[in-house]
């Protein structure tokens, strides 16, 4: 059953990664990508991750050209179905798809359509009837893209679902880390995800990819925003996915190689998870003195959009150690890579 949804467990495991020639259509060459959809990163093998990274390298090269465009997805319809407001991710996907010469359809589904009366299944069938072949979907409910994948005839690319997953963000984070860390590897590097882990699909997806890549991963935040992660760490460890969970920011940041701050949202106060934003900023904000606990030159990351002065100090966000704008550029390359690989798998 998984095969129907995911393309299967028999995904590329070979260490031999063949980097596709991204100037031509993906179906014209043998690329070792077996996943029909990208709904989560939990099933990606290290070879899969490598293929995405290498394909993104090729896309970065495209982006560096005077005319940053290849005809690879000419005639393909990429539909962006966003149930949640998002500027960055939507625009990033749109730019990525256009760079591949795809036709892009944008649908901003209002939040009200999530409620009863207009079902997701119906919407997905409609966009398919309108010609969608690759469906990039963002949705506020965890797992919604799996429901879409059940009924959609093409490929579904999860652009973020509820608290669950944000695959392309985790892939671009891994890509950015590899680009900036010495040796180009995250293996053994201490990487900290700081902040509202509980509500974060970015944190969840990064747990899968960074532990797969061998990072020494630390999750840090107020105890209320780490709920359930100790349980995950305990069970994941048995499976070789080790990470640490702590409410102590000093312990987390000490000798870190990279720190990823997460956005903190105002709603969290209303639900009694935090006393105040001020207190959060004082205790968990990524400030220059705190960053000094990390290794010299430790990377500073943020998936955006930032609340400067809350989870991250403006001088840190704009400082020399920040690779935040690079994350944005890499996001386009990663999304080009994933769209390209999925387009190849669709007809495979």
């Amino acid at each position: 059953v998984t095969d129907v949804i995911d393309g299967g467990a028999e995904a590329a495991t070979s260490a031999e990664v063949v980097v596709p020639s991204v100037d031509v259509a993906p179906e014209s060459q043998a690329v070792g990508w077996r996943h029909r959809h990208l709904l989560d990163v939990d099933r990606l093998s290290t070879a899969d991750l490598d293929l995405v990274m290498r394909t993104a390298d090729a896309m970065r090269e495209v982006l560096a050209r005077p005319i940053a465009k290849v005809p690879a997805l000419r005639g393909r319809n990429v539909t962006l179905l966003f149930y949640e407001a998002s500027t960055r991710t939507r625009v990033s996907f749109e730019v990525a798809a256009r760079n591949l010469s795809a036709d892009v359809v944008n649908i901003a589904a209002s939040a009200s359509s999530v409620t009863k009366g207009e079902s997701l299944v119906d919407t997905v069938r409609t966009v398919e009837a309108l010609g969608a072949q690759l469906l990039v979907m963002r949705h506020g409910v965890s797992g919604a893209p799996y429901l879409a994948a059940e009924v959609f005839g093409g490929s579904v690319l999860n652009g973020g679902d509820g608290w669950h997953a944000h695959p392309t963000q985790a892939l671009l984070d891994l890509y950015t880390l590899r680009a900036h860390l010495p040796d180009g590897s995250v293996a053994g590097r201490k990487i900290v995800i700081l902040g509202d882990v509980l509500h974060s699909r970015v944190a969840r997806s990064n747990i899968w990819t960074l532990t797969a890549a061998g990072a020494d991963l630390w999750l840090c935040g107020p105890a209320t925003l780490l709920r359930g992660f100790e349980a995950w760490a305990g069970r994941g460890a048995a499976a070789g996915r080790r990470f640490n969970v702590t409410a102590s920011i000093d312990e987390a940041l000490r000798d870190a190689d990279a720190v990823m701050a997460l956005r903190i949202q105002r709603e969290r106060m209303a639900s009694g998870l935090l006393p105040s934003l001020r207190e959060y900023a004082a205790r968990y904000g990524l400030t220059a003195p705190r960053l000094a606990l990390a290794k010299p030159g430790a990377l500073v990351m943020h998936p955006g959009p930032m609340n400067e002065g809350v989870e991250i100090a403006p001088d840190v966000a704009a400082g020399a150690q920040s690779v935040i704008t690079d994350q944005v550029t890499n996001g386009v390359a990663i999304r080009m890579a994933v769209l390209y690989l999925l387009a190849g798998a669709t007809r495979g």
């Binding site: 059953v1 409620t115 079902s119 799996y146 509820g162 048995a238």
Partner: protein
Amino acid sequence: MTDLDLSRVWLVDPAVGREGPGELVVRDGILEAVTWLDESDGEGVDAAGVVVAPGFIDLHAHLREPGNEDAETVATGLRAAAHGGFTTVCAMPNTTPALDEPGVLAAIRAAAAASGSPVELLAYGAVTVGRAGEALAALGELADAGVVGFSDDGAPVRSASILRNALAYAGALGLPIVDHPEDATQTEGAEANDGFIATVLGLRGWSASAEETAVARDQAILADVCRDVPGARLHLTHVSTAGALELIRRGKAAGLPVTCDVTPHHLALTDEWVAGARRFAWEARTDGDPWRDEAIVAPPYASSLRVNPPLRTPADALACLAVLADGAADAIATDHAPHTEVDKAVEFGSASTGISGIETALGLVLAAVDAGHLTLARAIEALTVGPAAILGRTRGLVEGAPADLVVFDRSERWTVTADALQSKGKNSPLFGLELSGRVLLTMAAGRVAYEAPISVSA
């Protein structure tokens, strides 16, 4: 009228505490003779073949009529019950309108009569008017009309003082309060059992403590009330956590008039199923990681698995089996909760809670029996005399009475499919699964309520 001759079958009659090879004769719908064979005559007959037991009683089913006949009607619900081996069904009052006054009871009784089904329909009345949790419903009038207890199921009785009054008032009427133990302040927006699986899937955690707090509260109030009202009785339904079951065990040990039931899905399935695993609780590794041991064989977030209380951990499911085995749990109840396709073909978190389970109950329970977690006799007891006692009745293979029995083949396997279910509710997470113990015949009130397409060799 119906005649039936069954020879050399495995009889299970918890009313007399006996199981073994035997013969059974029904003439004109009356159970004329039940004969237990001695060792030599019964040679070669075992519990792996055709089994005959008293008809099952379901303490907890949602028949959806009136108000949501797209999901189920009294007629289809009773048909489904018969297919599951049940001959008595207690309908929950969370209909629209709620069964909070005798008129609604009369209406569903009329529907049962019109259905022609011999399956007995019993009903609970609501504890509060409109199940709104504010004012006591017409408990006395409902009792006079024949309800078998009171419940606001679907929701707990939120107010502790209302619960206190209800326990006292219903106790004086000789009827139990059937509470759905859930502290709603801890479950707002909750989607899946709090823990590893929910965290990974990004689902809002539904804590065990929400159930345990409610059980502790209910029992504390009961302890108080039953000092003044000797007839006060509390029945806790679909108890799902090891901690809640332990609290009930202690309550019983302290002499509290409390009883409880567990559901087939909570004793056999776990939260791993939400992640896409499809192994029974006793096959799971509580320290393991289903992503690692390749247990995940289906897509995650199947909305058919969204249920209240949520599917718990393997340890909780094993605790449900343990309390059934040692008698601390009184009954198995299905919490049959049919829903329409429209209410289930949505995102996991938006889906209505509930499993259409009255037809798969026996199969899941027998799977636990096959795995050695329960004896067949105890399983049947929890489906018959256990719930009967809570209703103040008995249930057994009684000579001279109208036949009320189920005949099933332990070794015959059937595949759960939408078409195989008689219920309108096709919201089962078990599609594609093979269960053993196909029901061949169900007789209620001396009439055939269900007969398998292949006739019984008599």
